[in-house]
């Protein structure tokens, strides 16, 4: 078993099956679908509370998704730590600004990449909360519960994503 831990990459089927088991444990021990986008609302609410608490308290959305350090919030620091452990163990950890596929196509200027990533992040955060979940919350946890809304949402993630990726890399880059 231990010889697998430092390997750079596992079969996607093994990693995926592990995620399936993990999500079953999340339902069992925490009575929740494992999702990642709620944490970003909570983080935004916590930052807002530090600056102007009255404004956050008045907002309806923060009354539903309470800005506090809880289960849903802790997922994100956990994911950062888990991926860090995995990449350090396999010797893949390295600090970089621009991923190679972007750099080889549009150049390795960090500023250009950060601006596009920031725009993408804003739409991702807006869209995830608009749809009520992300690739893990809807795409995996929701599909596991056979939720029609989640399956429709996951299809829309990929329809929007594929169309935009083709526009960026096959139309604009060409």
């Amino acid at each position: 078993m231990f010889e697998y831990l430092p390997q750079a990459i596992w079969s996607p089927y093994v990693a995926g099956a592990g995620i399936g088991v993990l999500i079953c444990f999340a339902f069992l021990l925490s009575d929740r679908p494992l999702g990642c986008s709620t944490a970003f609302v909570k983080a935004r609410g916590l930052i807002g509370k530090a600056i102007n608490p009255a404004r956050i308290e008045k907002n309806e959305y923060y009354r539903e998704i309470i800005p506090q350090i809880d289960w849903a919030f802790m997922i994100i620091p956990g994911v950062i730590i888990g991926a860090f452990i995995s990449s350090v163990m396999s010797g893949q950890f390295h600090i970089f600004w621009v991923p190679s596929l972007w750099g080889d196509t549009f150049g390795y200027n960090p500023l250009t990449r950060i601006i596009v990533a920031l725009a993408g992040g804003i739409l991702l955060g807006l869209g995830a909360r608009w749809a009520g979940g992300c690739t893990s919350g809807h795409g995996i946890s929701g599909s596991i519960q056979l939720s029609v809304a989640s399956i429709i949402t996951a299809c829309c993630f990929f329809i929007g994503g594929i169309a935009t990726a083709f526009l960026i890399f096959r139309v604009i880059a060409a």
């Binding site: 995926g16 099956a17 995620i19 994911v79 860090f84 991923p99 909360r129 608009w130 989640s150 929007g160």
Partner: protein, 185 residues
């Protein structure tokens, strides 16, 4: 026993961290914290993301429903709407391709040293989630409730027995993965 664990906030904070750590570990091992792999999926040249997601659903679908059958877990599936799920999903998709990560894998990428994921992606996600919170009072009774879906779950939609739906979906997903291997993508 399970109920007491669910209600213990300190235990849940710790569990959230632990679930996150294992999730991040598996995402990195599966290769999906890599920008190139995610964009490869969206350009339909690399199907790693599909393989990870479908394997997770294949295992989780049967696991969850067996646990539900014996009463250890409950469903959280909610009725969605076109205004929320389709429009939100498409906005997400545009962001997904621009950023090259999703909300979970962006955190995983930060753990592997990606600064574009940290300073672009995570900062953007916090800002975007904040925009939604500001707009929520206007959206809630408007576009978000437009076109309510008539059913919650797939068995209700198809009007079929739960276990028949599970068997059909498992067969369909496994068949899809076999086809991916057959075509070598």
């Amino acid at each position: 026993m399970l109920n007491r664990i669910h209600k213990n906030n300190n235990v849940q904070v710790l569990l959230g961290l632990c679930f996150g750590i294992v999730f991040g570990f598996l995402l990195q091992k599966g290769g999906v914290t890599d920008y190139n792999v995610i964009i490869g999926q969206l350009l339909l040249t690399d199907f790693t993301v599909m393989k990870v997601m479908l394997s997770a659903v294949i295992v989780g679908l049967i696991g969850f429903h067996l646990l539900k059958h014996v009463g250890y877990v409950q469903s959280h599936a909610a009725r969605g709407s076109f205004g929320s799920n389709v429009i939100g999903g498409l906005i997400f998709g545009v962001g997904f391709a621009l950023l090259g990560y999703c909300p979970g894998t962006v955190a995983g990428a930060v753990g592997t040293g990606a600064l574009d994921a940290l300073l672009g992606g995570m900062v953007g996600l916090v800002i975007g989630a904040g925009f939604f919170a500001e707009a929520y009072p206007l959206l809630r009774n408007g576009i978000l409730s437009w076109g309510k879906l008539p059913v919650v779950t797939v068995p209700e939609f198809l009007n079929l027995n739960l276990w028949i739906v599970i068997i059909l979906m498992e067969a369909f997903m496994m068949g899809f993965l076999v086809l991916l291997e057959y075509f070598g993508v």
